[in-house]
C-alpha cells in the first residue's frame, strides 16, 4: 500500500510528515510526497485509520491538501492530485474513482495532451476504453504507462529520497561560559566533528554559521564567508577565534549551535611555471589577522572601478577571479599620491587660472598650471559629479592636483 499527500499549502512540512510514517519515501514533486505504508497495518490499523492518522499529523505540521491511499504508488499519487480530501481506493475500484477525471490530470507532456485532445479523448474513462495494443503501437511506452496510470495499475517502485545529512551541531552547556578560551575549546569539539563528517562525505565548506545562545534568552549569531572551500578544522577554528575576538558575545554563553554549509571541495592543479602563491587558507588567516587590527573595510583586494569618476575603487574581500592585466600602459605615467580624504583649499584665480593656493595653513604661489581638465558623469544617479581639475606646480616645488567641485576647492594629492 502507498500513500500520497498533495499539499496546497505547507509544502515545507511534507518530507517530515512522510518520514514520520516511513523511511521509504519519494519526493514526487515540490508539492507531492509518496510513501510506503505497507507495514503500518499492525501499528495504526486499516487504510482508513492510516489515512486518518496522516491527516491528523499533516494538520499538526500545517500541511493542507489531499491524501490518496491505494495499492500502487501511481494510483495514490493520481488520487491525491485529482480527488479532493482523503481518498482510499481499494484494489479493483480504481476505474470507479478515475473514469470521470479530465485527461489533463495525467502526468505527461503538453504534446501528448494535445494529441489526446485531438483524438477527442476528454476523460480517463475514454482513454481507458482505447485498445491497449492500438495505444502501444501509436504512443509507445509512454502511452502504455499513461494507460496503466489511468486504469489504476501503474505500478512502479518509489524513487527514494536520501536521508539528508546535516552539518549542524548543538551543544548545551552545563553551566554558562564567560571566557573566550573555554568557549573556543567547546567550539573546537563541534568544529572537528563537523569537519570529519564533511571529509567522510567528500565535502567541504565555504560558510560557517555560529550561534551563541546567551544567558537571558538572546542569541549572538556570527557568519563567515570563505573565498575557498575547505574542511580543515584548524583553519576554520582560527577564523572563528579572530572573529570572536573582534565581536565577543558580551554575556555568558549557555549553548552553542554550529552549522557548516556543504559545497564541493576545491580541486587545484598547481602550475609548474606560475610563481608560488600563499595557500588560500594561510592568506585568509593573515588577512583575518590584519582585518582584526585595521578594520574589515580597510584590508582586502583593492579594485579600480570601470568609470571616469576620479579615485573610484572598492575593497574586495577576495581576490578578483580574472587575472590582473599585465599590459603596459600606453605611455609612461607619473605616479600619483592621493590624499584621502582630499584636503580643502582656498584658490585664488586670475584670468581663469589659479594664482595662489592656501591649504593646511600654507600659502603657495602657483608657478605653472595645466588645465582645466573637466570631468562629469553618473548623471543618471544621485552620485552625479562635475569637477574641474588643475595640475599645478607650486612655490614649494611640489606638483599638486587641485579641483573645484560644488564651488569648493580641494587638493586631491601630489604627483610623486
Amino acid at each position: 500500500m502507498f500513500a500520497a499527500v498533495h499539499a496546497s499549502s505547507g509544502e515545507d512540512g511534507l518530507e517530515e510528515l512522510a518520514r514520520s510514517f516511513s523511511p521509504h519515501i519519494e519526493m514526487t514533486s515540490a508539492d507531492t510526497v509518496t510513501f510506503d505504508i505497507g507495514g503500518l497495518r499492525r501499528l495504526l490499523g486499516g487504510p482508513h485509520q492510516i489515512a486518518s492518522e496522516i491527516a491528523h499529523r499533516a494538520n499538526e505540521r500545517g500541511v493542507a491538501g489531499n491524501i490518496g491511499i491505494a495499492a500502487t504508488a501511481e494510483t495514490a499519487i493520481l488520487a491525491s492530485r485529482s480527488l479532493p480530501g482523503v481518498t482510499v481506493i481499494a484494489p479493483g475500484e480504481e476505474a470507479r474513482h478515475f473514469d470521470g477525471l479530465r485527461i489533463e490530470v495525467l502526468p505527461t507532456t503538453d504534446e501528448m495532451r494535445m494529441l489526446l485532445h485531438r483524438w477527442g479523448i476528454r476523460t480517463l474513462g475514454e482513454f481507458c476504453a482505447l485498445p491497449e495494443s492500438g495505444v502501444l503501437e501509436r504512443l509507445g511506452a509512454e502511452g502504455r504507462r499513461l494507460l496503466r496510470i489511468a486504469r489504476g495499475d501503474g505500478d512502479r517502485p518509489l524513487r527514494s529520497a536520501p536521508i539528508p545529512t546535516g552539518y549542524l551541531e548543538r551543544l548545551e552547556l552545563d553551566y554558562p561560559v564567560q571566557l573566550l578560551e573555554p568557549l573556543l575549546f567547546l567550539i573546537s569539539r563541534l568544529m572537528h566533528e563537523l569537519c570529519d563528517r564533511l571529509r567522510t562525505h567528500a565535502r567541504a565548506t565555504t560558510e560557517v554559521h555560529l550561534v551563541l545562545e546567551l544567558e537571558g534568552g538572546t542569541e549572538h549569531p556570527r557568519s563567515m564567508q570563505l573565498p575557498f572551500a575547505t574542511h580543515d578544522a584548524k583553519t576554520l577554528l582560527k577564523l572563528v577565534q579572530l572573529d570572536l575576538e573582534r565581536h565577543p558575545p558580551g554575556t555568558a554563553v549557555s549553548a552553542i549551535r554550529l552549522r557548516l554549509v556543504p559545497v564541493d571541495p576545491r580541486r587545484v592543479q598547481n602550475n609548474l611555471y606560475s610563481p608560488p602563491a600563499p595557500q588560500p587558507e594561510k592568506l585568509e588567516l593573515t588577512l583575518g589577522k590584519i582585518r582584526a587590527m585595521v578594520g574589515v573595510a580597510n584590508a582586502g583586494f583593492p579594485e579600480v572601478l570601470n568609470t571616469h569618476r576620479p579615485d573610484a575603487w572598492r575593497m574586495r574581500m577576495s581576490a578578483p577571479s580574472s587575472k590582473l592585466s599585465v599590459e603596459a600602459p600606453p605611455s609612461p605615467r607619473i605616479a600619483f599620491r592621493y590624499y584621502r580624504p582630499a584636503r580643502e583649499a582656498l584658490v585664488e584665480m586670475r584670468s581663469g587660472r589659479p594664482q595662489r593656493m592656501k591649504s593646511s595653513n600654507a600659502v603657495l604661489t602657483v608657478e605653472r598650471a595645466a588645465g582645466p581638465w573637466r570631468l562629469s558623469g553618473d548623471w543618471w544617479s544621485a552620485e552625479c559629479y562635475v569637477r574641474e581639475e588643475w595640475d599645478i606646480e607650486a612655490s614649494d616645488d611640489v606638483l599638486y592636483r587641485i579641483y573645484l567641485a560644488r564651488q569648493k576647492w580641494f587638493v586631491e594629492g601630489i604627483y610623486d
Binding site: L115, R118, L130, E137, W373, R374, G377, W380, S381, D391
Partner: protein, 1015 residues
C-alpha cells in the same frame, strides 16, 4: 574665424546625438559660415545636412569617417566632385565586399579612391602610409581639445608628428551633438551601440560634455598656443569646393536606333499607343498629346518616359499587370504609352500637376505591380538592364518611435524586461491620442511618477530619442537609375534581400537632390486581380480583359451602393461601408471621389459630411467662395483633391504655379510643419488682398492645410478607382475565382481570410475543403467551386505541399507518409485534423488522426514497406463545434458553420439580433448584437471613438464606442474575441451601426477568428 570640420550627426547611427538640421542651426547661430558633416561609413545624413545648410546660408562640406580593415578610421573630406565620387565609390566597394555590418576598407581600396580627398589624422595610422595614399598637400594633423588630460598628451604627440613631417595642424572639436544637453542622450546611444547598461558602461561613456559645437572665439581660446590650427580650418574650408549641389547625376538615355532620336522614338511610340487607346483618336486627345510631347522635348525628358515605358513593356510582354499611379495619370502621353490606365483627356485631369515648365523638377511616375514574385522579377529586370552599379533601391531610414525608443532607453537605464513590457503595453498603438494620453500619464499608469528623478530622466531621454535614426532599411519599391555609375553619386549597400542593392538616401533625399526615382510598388490587389484572371481562364475557360471591362455595370454599382464590398480594393473598410449607402456611387467618377473621400484629409478638413449631404440632396452644392465654383463643380462645391486645392490657392491668393507646387510639396512632406505655417501666412495675405476674409478665409485655409499629410491627387484616385471597379466586377461575376485569388495573395486588405471566405459563402460560392488528393498548393477553381489550397494549412511548408501535389494519388495515410517523407509529424497531424486526409483515410478526421500516429511510428527496415492492417479507429468522430475549432486552429478559417451560429439559440433567448436582423431594425431602437470581433479601429481623426466590426453567420455589423465607454471597458474591448453589445441603432439611409451603451465578453468554447486592429 573657425570652421568645424569634424562633426557627427545622428546619421552616424548611434554615434551622434543630434540631427543634421540641429547641427546646422547651431552652426548658423554661432555665425559659422561653413561646416563639415563627418558620419561614420555613410552619407545618409548628407542630403538633410545640405538642404538645411542651404536654407540657412551655411556651406555644407561633406566627409566620412571610413573604417579601415587595419583598424581605426580614415577621416576624409571631399575636396571636389572627384573626391566626392571617390568617397561614394570607396564606401560602395567596402560595403558590397563584406557582410552587412562588417564592412571595412582595405589599403588597396583607400589607394584606389584617394584622389580629391583630404585626410585628417590624429596619429593612429602611420603618417608615411597616409602620405603615400593622399599626398602631402592633402594631409592635416588634427587636434581636438575636450579638457581631457590624456587627450592633451596625444595632442603633444600630434604636434611633434606635424613638425617632424612638416604637416599643417587643424583644430576640430570632434562634435557628437549640437549642444551640451545632448551629452546624456549620447551616453545612452553609446550604451545601445555597445549593448550594455549605463551603470555598466564605465569608460565607454564620455568623460565630460565638451563635444558640442563651439564658437570661433571659444576654439581660438582653446587653441591659443596653436592659432594656426584654427586658421587652417578656414583655409581648408575654402579649398573644399564640393557641395551636393554639384552631384553630377544624370539619368540614362534610352538607346535608340542610329537614325532615330529619343524624341522621335517617343513621339512614334506615343502616337502608336494613342491610336490603340483612343478609338477614335479624337482632336482633343491629339492636341493634348502634342502639347505634352512638345513640353517633354523642351524639358529633355524623353529618355525618362522611354525608360518607364520600357519597364511597363517588359511587364506586358511577361504577363505582369502594371499600372501607373500618382500624378502620371494626368498625362495623355503616359496613357498612350500604356504606363497609366486612366484617360486624362476624358476625365479632364490637370496635366500641369504632373509636369510643368516652371517647376523644373523631374516628374514622378509610380508603377503598381502585383506584390511578391512578379514585382521582384521587374526589379531584377531593372538591375539587369542598368547594372549593379547603375540602379538601386532607395533607403528607408528607420527611426526611433514610441516603443522602440522606450525599450532601448529603458534597457540602458537598467529597467527590467517586465517593467519595460508594462510600459510598452501602454504606448498607444491606436492612431488616436487623447489629450490625456501624454508620456507622463503613460508612465503614471505603469506606476512611475515624474517626481522620481530616475523616472524623470527616463521620460526626458525617451522624448529626446524620438525620431533619431536607428538604422538603414530598404524602401518598399523606390528605384533610382543613373547613367554610368550610381555609385559615384551615392554610396550603395547590399540589402538584406539577396540580389538587391540599396542607396544610402531615402526617397525624400532623392527628391531634394534631383535623383530620379521610379517607384515599383507591390500592390496585393494587383496580384489578386492577375491571379483572378488566370483562375477564370483555367477554371471557367473564359477570358477577362481588365482594360475592357463593361463600363458602369448596374449590378456592380448596386453592390457598391449597398456597401456589399468585403474584399474589394480601397472600399471595403468599415468607414467606406458606412459611407457608400449615403453617397451611392453611380458611375466611374463617383468611385474616384469615393476613393478620395475616406481619407484623413477630407475628414479632418470637415469635407466628408458636406459632400455626403450634397450627394443625398440634403444641401445645396455651394462653393466656399463664388470664384471657386468652376474648380469645385465636379465635387459638389467641396474640395477633395490636391489639384483642386492648388487651383484654389492660385485663384483666391494669386499663387503662381511654382508657389502652388511648393504648397503641394509642403503638404506631402512630413518634415515641413514650419513651411506649412509660412505658406498659411502667404495664403491669408493673398486672400486679404482679394477681400476674402473672416470665416470664409478660415474655411478655405482649413480645407487647404488639412491636406498637410494625406493629400490625394485626383489622378491617383482615378487609377485606384479603376482597381476598385475591376475588383468589384470580378467579385460580382466570378466571386469564386476572386476569393481564391484573395486567399492566395494574403496578407492583404482589411479583413482576415476567414471573413473573406464567409462572405463568399454568403454570396453563394461553394467552397471545397483542403484535400490532399485534390488541393493544389494555391487555392483554385474546381468545377466552378473554390477549392482551398494547401497554402492555407498553418505550419505546412511549401516544399512539403509541393511534394504532396506531385506524388498523388495515395492509397492510404500510411502510403502518404511513406511516399512524402518531407512531411513532418506536426504537418501530417495538422492535415488529418482539418480533414485533408479524410478521403485517403477512408473515414472521418479522427480515423485519419488514428492512422497518422501509426504511420508516424518507425517500424524498422524489415517491416517498413508492409502496410499495416488497420480497421476503423475506436475514436468518435468530431462534432460540428470540434470540426469548426479544428478548422479555425488549423487553417484560420472554416467552411462549416460560423462559430457564432452554434450559440444562436442561446443568443436568441437573450434577445440578441443577427446582423441581417439589425439591418432591418428601426433608427433609434435599442438592440443587442453579438459576434466575433473582426476589426477594431480607433483612428486619429475620430477623437477617441472606437469602431468595431462584428461578424456572425449572417454578415458584418458595425458598432461605435464612445471614448468614455472605451476607457471604462478598455480591456474587454481590446482583448475579448467575442463581444455582446447593446446600444441604440443608427440607421441612416441603409448605413446601419450600433451606438454602444453596454459591452460584455461573450463567453464561448470556440476558437475565435482573428481580428485586424488598425489605427
Amino acid at each position: 574665424m573657425y570652421i568645424e570640420l569634424h562633426s557627427r550627426s545622428s546619421f552616424a547611427f548611434l554615434e551622434g546625438a543630434s540631427n543634421p538640421e540641429d547641427l546646422v542651426e547651431s552652426c548658423a547661430g554661432l555665425d559659422m559660415p561653413a561646416m563639415a558633416l563627418m558620419d561614420t561609413d555613410n552619407l545618409s545624413g548628407a542630403p538633410r545636412f545640405y538642404m538645411a545648410a542651404r536654407k540657412l546660408g551655411v556651406k555644407a562640406h561633406i566627409g566620412v569617417e571610413v573604417t579601415s580593415a587595419a583598424g581605426g578610421r580614415h577621416v576624409l573630406l571631399a575636396e571636389n566632385r572627384t573626391g566626392y565620387q571617390n568617397l561614394c565609390r570607396l564606401l560602395t566597394a567596402m560595403k558590397l565586399s563584406a557582410p552587412k555590418g562588417k564592412a571595412a576598407a582595405t589599403e588597396l581600396q583607400f589607394r584606389q579612391f584617394a584622389e580629391g580627398l583630404i585626410c585628417l589624422t590624429r596619429g593612429e595610422h602611420s603618417v608615411e602610409l597616409l602620405l603615400s595614399i593622399y599626398g602631402r598637400s592633402n594631409l592635416f594633423v588634427e587636434l581636438q581639445r575636450h579638457f581631457d588630460r590624456d587627450e592633451e598628451a596625444r595632442n603633444q604627440r600630434s604636434v611633434d608628428l606635424a613638425r617632424a613631417h612638416q604637416l599643417p595642424l587643424l583644430a576640430t572639436n570632434g562634435v557628437r551633438y549640437a549642444d551640451p544637453v545632448k551629452r546624456e542622450l549620447m551616453d545612452v546611444l553609446t550604451c545601445v551601440r555597445n549593448k550594455t547598461t549605463i551603470a555598466e558602461a564605465g569608460r565607454l561613456l564620455l568623460r565630460n560634455s565638451e563635444r558640442h559645437l563651439k564658437s570661433g572665439r571659444e576654439m581660438a581660446r582653446l587653441f591659443a598656443d596653436h592659432p594656426e590650427a584654427v586658421r587652417n580650418t578656414v583655409e581648408l574650408s575654402s579649398r573644399l569646393g564640393f557641395t551636393l549641389a554639384d552631384l553630377g547625376y544624370r539619368f540614362p538615355p534610352y538607346p535608340v536606333g542610329p537614325d532615330e532620336t529619343m524624341n522621335g522614338f517617343l513621339r512614334n511610340r506615343t502616337q502608336e499607343g494613342a491610336q490603340w487607346r483612343y478609338r477614335p483618336y479624337h482632336e482633343r486627345a491629339q492636341k493634348q498629346i502634342e502639347r505634352e510631347l512638345n513640353l517633354i522635348e523642351k524639358l529633355d525628358l524623353a529618355g525618362y518616359f522611354l525608360i518607364v515605358w520600357d519597364i511597363v513593356r517588359y511587364c506586358r510582354e511577361n504577363g505582369i499587370l502594371a499600372q501607373g499611379r500618382g500624378s502620371a495619370a494626368n498625362s495623355a502621353v503616359c496613357y498612350s504609352l500604356g504606363i497609366t490606365a486612366v484617360d486624362p483627356v476624358g476625365m479632364d485631369l490637370l496635366f500641369e500637376r504632373f509636369l510643368s515648365e516652371e517647376r523644373g523638377e523631374w516628374p514622378d511616375i509610380d508603377i503598381d505591380l502585383p506584390s511578391g514574385d512578379q514585382r521582384e522579377k521587374v526589379i531584377q529586370y531593372v538591375y539587369h538592364r542598368y547594372g549593379q552599379h547603375g540602379a538601386a533601391m532607395t533607403a528607408n531610414i528607420i527611426t526611433y518611435r514610441g516603443r522602440s525608443g522606450l525599450r532601448d532607453v529603458g534597457k540602458v537605464l537598467g529597467y527590467s524586461q517586465e517593467e519595460l513590457n508594462r510600459l510598452a503595453s501602454l504606448v498607444s498603438l491606436w492612431g488616436f491620442k487623447g489629450e490625456n494620453e501624454t508620456v507622463e500619464r503613460q508612465f503614471a499608469e505603469a506606476g512611475y511618477q515624474r517626481d522620481n528623478a530616475r523616472v524623470s530622466k527616463f521620460m526626458q531621454l525617451y522624448q529626446q530619442i524620438q525620431d533619431l535614426p536607428r538604422h538603414l532599411g530598404q524602401h518598399s519599391g523606390g528605384m533610382v537609375i543613373c547613367q554610368g555609375s550610381l555609385d559615384q553619386v551615392v554610396p550603395l549597400e547590399p540589402a538584406t534581400m539577396p540580389n538587391r542593392v540599396v542607396i544610402q538616401w531615402d526617397k525624400e533625399d532623392c527628391a531634394d537632390l534631383g535623383l530620379i526615382k521610379v517607384d515599383l510598388l507591390g500592390l496585393g490587389m494587383m496580384a489578386a486581380l492577375e491571379e483572378s484572371i488566370e483562375l477564370i481562364r483555367t477554371g471557367f475557360h473564359e477570358e477577362v480583359d481588365l482594360a475592357h471591362l463593361p463600363q458602369d455595370d448596374p449590378q456592380v454599382f448596386e453592390q457598391l451602393q449597398t456597401a456589399d464590398t468585403v474584399g474589394l480594393f480601397q472600399v471595403e473598410s468599415r468607414a467606406q461601408m458606412a459611407s457608400l449607402p449615403l453617397t451611392k456611387p453611380k458611375n466611374f467618377y463617383d468611385l474616384v471621389v469615393q476613393v478620395a473621400i475616406i481619407r484623413p484629409g477630407p475628414i479632418v478638413g470637415k469635407m466628408y459630411h458636406p459632400y455626403t449631404r450634397r450627394r443625398q440632396g440634403l444641401e445645396a452644392p455651394i462653393s466656399l467662395h463664388p470664384s471657386l465654383d468652376k474648380v469645385l463643380e465636379r465635387t459638389l462645391g467641396v474640395p477633395l483633391f490636391q489639384e483642386q486645392l492648388l487651383k484654389m490657392a492660385m485663384i483666391v491668393a494669386d499663387f503662381t504655379g511654382g508657389e502652388a507646387e511648393e504648397l503641394r510639396r509642403a503638404m506631402g512632406f512630413k518634415r515641413s510643419e514650419k513651411r506649412m505655417v509660412e505658406i498659411e501666412q502667404r495664403l491669408r495675405k493673398g486672400m486679404d488682398s482679394k477681400g476674402i476674409t473672416g470665416e470664409q478665409q478660415n474655411a478655405i485655409v482649413q480645407s487647404i492645410t488639412s491636406f498637410a499629410l494625406y493629400g490625394f491627387p485626383e489622378s491617383h484616385a482615378a487609377s485606384f478607382a479603376l482597381l476598385v471597379y475591376a475588383s468589384a466586377w470580378l467579385r460580382c461575376y466570378y466571386n469564386a475565382a476572386f476569393t481564391a485569388a484573395l486567399l492566395n495573395c494574403q496578407p492583404m486588405g482589411f479583413y482576415h481570410p476567414a471573413t473573406l471566405l464567409k462572405d463568399a459563402q454568403r454570396h453563394g460560392v461553394k467552397v471545397l475543403p483542403v484535400d490532399v488528393e485534390h488541393s493544389d498548393w494555391r487555392c483554385k477553381i474546381e468545377e466552378r467551386c473554390l477549392r482551398l489550397g494547401l497554402n492555407q494549412v498553418r505550419g505546412l511548408r511549401q516544399d512539403a505541399g509541393a511534394a504532396i501535389v506531385s506524388r498523388r494519388p495515395y492509397r492510404s495515410v500510411f502510403d502518404l507518409s511513406q511516399r512524402v517523407p518531407e512531411l513532418m509529424k506536426d504537418e501530417l497531424r495538422q492535415l488529418a485534423s482539418i480533414g485533408a486526409l479524410n478521403r485517403i483515410g477512408d473515414g472521418h478526421r479522427r480515423d485519419a488522426l488514428w492512422q497518422t500516429e501509426l504511420a508516424l511510428k518507425p517500424v524498422g527496415p524489415l517491416l517498413e514497406s508492409i502496410e499495416p492492417l488497420e480497421g476503423l479507429s475506436p475514436l468518435r468522430p468530431m462534432n460540428p463545434i470540434e470540426r469548426t475549432n479544428a478548422d479555425l486552429s488549423g487553417t484560420g478559417m472554416s467552411i462549416g458553420r460560423h462559430p457564432v451560429a452554434f450559440y444562436r439559440e442561446r443568443l436568441r433567448a437573450m434577445r440578441v439580433l443577427t446582423t441581417a436582423e439589425l439591418k432591418r431594425a428601426g433608427n433609434g431602437t435599442v438592440a443587442r448584437i453579438a459576434g466575433c470581433v473582426i476589426c477594431r479601429q480607433r483612428p486619429e481623426t475620430a477623437k477617441g471613438f472606437m469602431f468595431l466590426s462584428l461578424e456572425d453567420e449572417t454578415g458584418i455589423s458595425n458598432a461605435i464606442v464612445h471614448p468614455d465607454l472605451f476607457e471604462a471597458n478598455r480591456l474587454v474591448l481590446v482583448s475579448q474575441p467575442f463581444l455582446l453589445l447593446e446600444g441604440i441603432v443608427q440607421n441612416a439611409a441603409g448605413a446601419v451601426s450600433l451606438k454602444v451603451a453596454r459591452v460584455q465578453g461573450f463567453v464561448q468554447e470556440s476558437v475565435a477568428m482573428r481580428s485586424h486592429n488598425f489605427r
